[in-house]
């Protein structure tokens, strides 16, 4: 048989769409000699190349690991359906991008868990790689399957398929994990003894081995997820980077040939957000806020431009306008790079005048769109979700935007939030009209010929684990659809563009976001029926999911919800992400009393638990 590389290059790649998705020869990609390292690892992103390559976490871990001489890390993404077909037709196993090696030949595969609707792709990738799906079916000759990322804080729906999960910030722990695996292999003649190795891994802080824990149900009610081995912790605590200035950051990152979704330098200016929106999982699991200093950021920007050649730097974070020194930093970078036509972009803007000033600065080099997220249509509901934004804020910022030359503004909202009534939906419509009419007036008075246009993008609320709203009931599919229709009927003006997501997808997201181990079976069944790329509307097959539910006697609506009692154990309670259950509950109660919680950066500590229990603290640059 000809080698995989020549078959791929000569017979397969030229026949699939966008072959560069499968060719790991990008600038700054790392190719190491297979036989000269102690451990061969693979980063798997269960979605398309263009999505996975836009993910900063991949670049951080890929380069961190490859900078260690004793390890190598290659990449693999979900192949698009045309490539999958080509592989299956010719019985070619899924392969890594860098060395075109079957993924089963690696020692350890790390799969990133970024969103629930990528789970079927995980099973599909393992299957394409000819790796048994269930951890207990994988003997010692198979790679260890490791999971990490935001969904690892509730990995129970995936527990059967993974050998272990890593909780928290990967750059803090991954080298410890690999050191443990590679010294284990050295002691065992270059092989692994999974039974022993998993015990060694479970001793690392932040590592969760699901097979060492057992959920106990009484009358169908979860009582506890209990350790089954004496030496494993009752609760696994996440790992956190304390100092972002000292944390590893790749200064020679991959530069794709082909366009990916975020095709620019991603410079992480801060991590965490304590604005405290009660629906937001990222705002809870990435605490505390840690800013990177301006000095380090300036130096990194300079090196990154030199090493990548990109013409745009995105200052990324959950809320970039919150960085203590964002304004001088932005100005200084723009001044420095304007003549080389290197632009700066800000991915997330608060709804306030300050953020608009920043957006105006940015326009010096590159024109960009404007997006704001009021999230809810009325002040009452915005207070419930603790989104500290008022209608005055929104009108002020959009007025300034129209005056400054923008003609199109995009607004994000959510439907299905706790306590929502149709008055709140009216509020979304009213706000959209208000912003539009205000914009039309400003443009008319300014004698400008272009028309004002508003896009409202409305997503459905998904209650997520580890948020104050984790106990909330999700709207039924019918309710969500009715609300979507309700808004649609009220928007008559063609200058308002109304987008919404498939409600079916939001129901499934809730099922998996708060699911327990019983969902492993459901996931397997749905995948067997052909579900994959669920987050791609052209591939999403809700009817197949429904069949899977039915065959297992499961009810989506029931699974999408959990008990609303505080004392009931949550499926993920044996995993500690830092913010306490008591704090989340207290935030939930405050939501129902419409009481605001201030940001601990500007007010006193809210004792959410992160700094108290994890021995970390907030890092702000301001003096």
């Amino acid at each position: 048989m000809k080698d995989l590389k020549s078959i791929l290059e000569n017979e397969i790649l030229s026949r699939v769409n966008k072959p560069l998705r499968y060719v790991g020869t990008e600038y700054n990609s790392v190719k190491k000699e297979w036989n000269k390292v102690k451990l061969r690892t693979l980063f798997a992103f269960p979605d398309l190349y263009e999505i996975g390559m836009s993910h900063l976490g991949l670049r951080i871990l890929y380069h961190l690991v490859n900078e260690q001489p004793q390890y190598l890390m290659e990449r693999v993404f979900s192949p698009w359906t045309d490539m999958e077909q080509a592989l299956r037709e010719r019985d070619i196993p899924l392969f890594s991008l860098e060395s075109y090696r079957p993924i089963a030949e690696f020692d350890c595969i790390g799969i990133t868990l970024q969103y629930e609707m990528s789970y079927t792709n995980i099973l599909n990738m393992l299957d394409l790689g000819k790796i048994p799906l269930k951890a207990n079916e994988r003997k010692n000759e198979y790679p260890l399957i490791m999971g990490g990322g935001p969904c690892a804080y509730n990995p129970e729906p995936l527990a059967d398929f993974f050998d272990f999960f890593v909780l928290g910030e990967g750059e803090e722990v991954i080298l410890e994990v690999f050191e443990t695996i590679s010294s284990h292999r050295e002691k065992h003649n270059g092989r692994q003894d999974k039974k022993i190795l998993l015990k060694e891994l479970a001793a690392i802080k932040g590592v969760y081995v699901p097979s060492f824990y057992k959920p106990i149900y009484v009358d169908g009610v979860l009582i506890e997820v209990q350790p089954t081995k004496p030496d494993v912790p009752r609760r696994v605590v996440k790992r956190v980077v304390q100092d972002l200035d000292k944390a590893y950051f790749p200064l020679k990152p991959l530069v794709p040939y082909t366009e990916v979704v975020h095709d620019r330098i991603m410079l992480e200016v801060l991590r965490g957000c304590t604005r405290g929106c009660r629906f937001c999982q990222a705002g809870m699991i990435y605490r505390p806020v840690r800013e990177r200093s301006s000095e380090v950021l300036e130096r990194q920007a300079k090196e990154l431009i030199k090493a990548t050649g990109y013409n745009e730097i995105s200052l990324t974070s959950l809320s970039t306008s919150d960085h203590s020194n964002i304004k001088p930093l932005l100005k200084s970078m723009l001044d420095k790079y304007e003549q080389d036509r290197i632009g700066i972009s800000l991915p997330s803007l608060r709804v306030d005048a300050f953020s608009l000033e920043l957006a105006k600065e940015v326009q010096r080099v590159r024109k960009t769109g404007l997006t704001f997220a009021p999230e809810a249509g009325t002040q009452r509901l915005r207070d419930v979700i603790n989104k500290g934004v008022t209608e005055e804020n929104l009108m002020e910022v959009t007025t300034a935007a129209f005056e400054a030359g923008w003609t199109q503004i995009k607004l994000y909202f959510m439907i299905g939030l706790p306590t929502e009534t149709f008055l709140d939906l009216d509020g979304i419509v009213d706000l959209a009209y208000k912003v539009l009419h205000n914009g039309m007036r400003i443009l008319r008075e300014g004698g400008r010929t272009r028309q004002a246009k508003i896009t409202i993008s409305v997503s459905s609320f998904v209650p997520k684990a580890n948020t104050p709203f984790q106990w909330e009931k999700q709207d039924t599919l019918e309710q969500l659809k009715e609300k979507q229709r309700y808004i649609k009927e009220k928007i008559k003006d063609r200058r308002i563009n109304y987008n919404y997501h498939e409600a079916e997808l939001s129901i499934l997201e809730a099922v998996f976001a708060r699911g327990d181990r019983r969902l492993n079976e459901l996931l397997l069944k749905a995948w067997e029926k052909g579900c994959k790329f669920d987050s791609w509307s052209e591939h999403f097959r809700y009817n197949l999911w429904l069949e899977a539910f039915q065959e297992l006697n499961m009810e989506p609506q029931e699974l999408a919800n959990i008990s609303e009692e505080f004392d009931r154990k949550l499926p993920w309670e044996h995993l500690n992400m830092g913010v306490t259950k008591a704090y989340l509950w207290q935030e939930r109660e405050k939501a129902y009393q419409t009481v605001a919680t201030e940001d601990c950066r500007y007010q006193s500590c809210t004792t959410c638990g992160i700094c108290q229990d994890l021995g970390v603290s907030m890092v702000l640059e301001r003096k």
């Binding site: 290059e9 000569n10 017979e11 790649l13 030229s14 072959p19 560069l20 060719v23 020869t25 990008e26 600038y27 530069v255 040939y257 082909t258 366009e259 095709d263 431009i305 030199k306 090493a307 990548t308 050649g309 990109y310 013409n311 080389d340 036509r341 290197i342 024109k367």
Partner: protein, 229 residues
């Protein structure tokens, strides 16, 4: 300063589309610390112009681009800096400074030379191949159907095939062909293979491989490369 660069597109880079290439070139210059000149206007773009766009999947020994820089550099320094900044898909071959802005590369280049590996499904004798090529080349016309924006259209490619040679190597025919390219007309190597297949009773396997050997300015007196004119 204005320079003309000859580069190769290697196996690693052959799946780059023209758009991918454009992005990549701009990044190469930025990495090399060579400041490109930008056009004026609302959305400035770097002043680069290419020879002839290479179809996705094809490797090449000689591609050309003209680029304007905001500063002057000695050519050897230019070369050194570019060499470290290119990704594995691109290799710099030669750089020449242009004194004045001449006609664009696309306007000048009118011929391409390809080497094509044609996988045979049946064995073939050298004499059969020779006869086949002769028979194909004495035809006054050969019509192919192309998909255009306004639907299918018929094109005679015969006049644009300047030279066609071939030899056998195990179960491959290795062709070397000179065809018309550029603004006056473009002949794709696959079309020349199609002509051969239809002229004789050729049975082919999948896996045609195309490699561009060069781009030329073909005049009555001589054939020159874009660096020679």
């Amino acid at each position: 300063m204005l320079v003309r660069i000859k580069y190769r597109k290697t196996s690693a880079g052959r799946f780059m589309s023209h758009l991918d290439l454009l992005r990549t070139i701009e990044r190469i210059f930025r990495r090399a610390g060579l400041p490109m000149a930008f056009s004026e206007g609302f959305n400035p773009h770097p002043k680069v112009s290419f020879g002839s766009a290479l179809a996705v999947g094809i490797t090449s020994d000689a591609e050309y681009l003209d680029v304007e820089l905001r500063e002057e550099f000695p050519l050897d320094q230019l070369r050194e800096r570019l060499d470290v900044a290119v990704p594995s898909g691109i290799e710099i071959m030669e750089i020449r400074q242009l004194q004045t802005r001449t006609r664009s590369l696309t306007a000048q280049i009118n011929m391409a030379r390809y080497r094509v590996y044609v996988p045979l499904a049946e064995k073939m004798e050298a004499s059969e191949l020779e006869q086949l090529i002769q028979k194909a080349m004495v035809q006054p016309t050969f019509i192919v159907t192309r998909d255009g924006k306004k639907g299918k259209r018929q094109v005679d490619i015969k006049n644009g095939i300047y030279k066609l040679e071939g030899r056998l190597d195990e179960d491959y025919i290795i062709l070397q062909i000179d065809v018309q390219t550029g603004s006056e007309g473009n002949i794709r190597p696959e079309e020349v293979v199609e002509m051969l297949r239809k002229t004789g009773d050729l049975y082919l396997r999948e896996g045609l491989q195309i490699h561009r050997l060069g781009l030329y300015v073909r005049e009555e007196a001589a054939i020159k490369t874009p660096l020679e004119i």
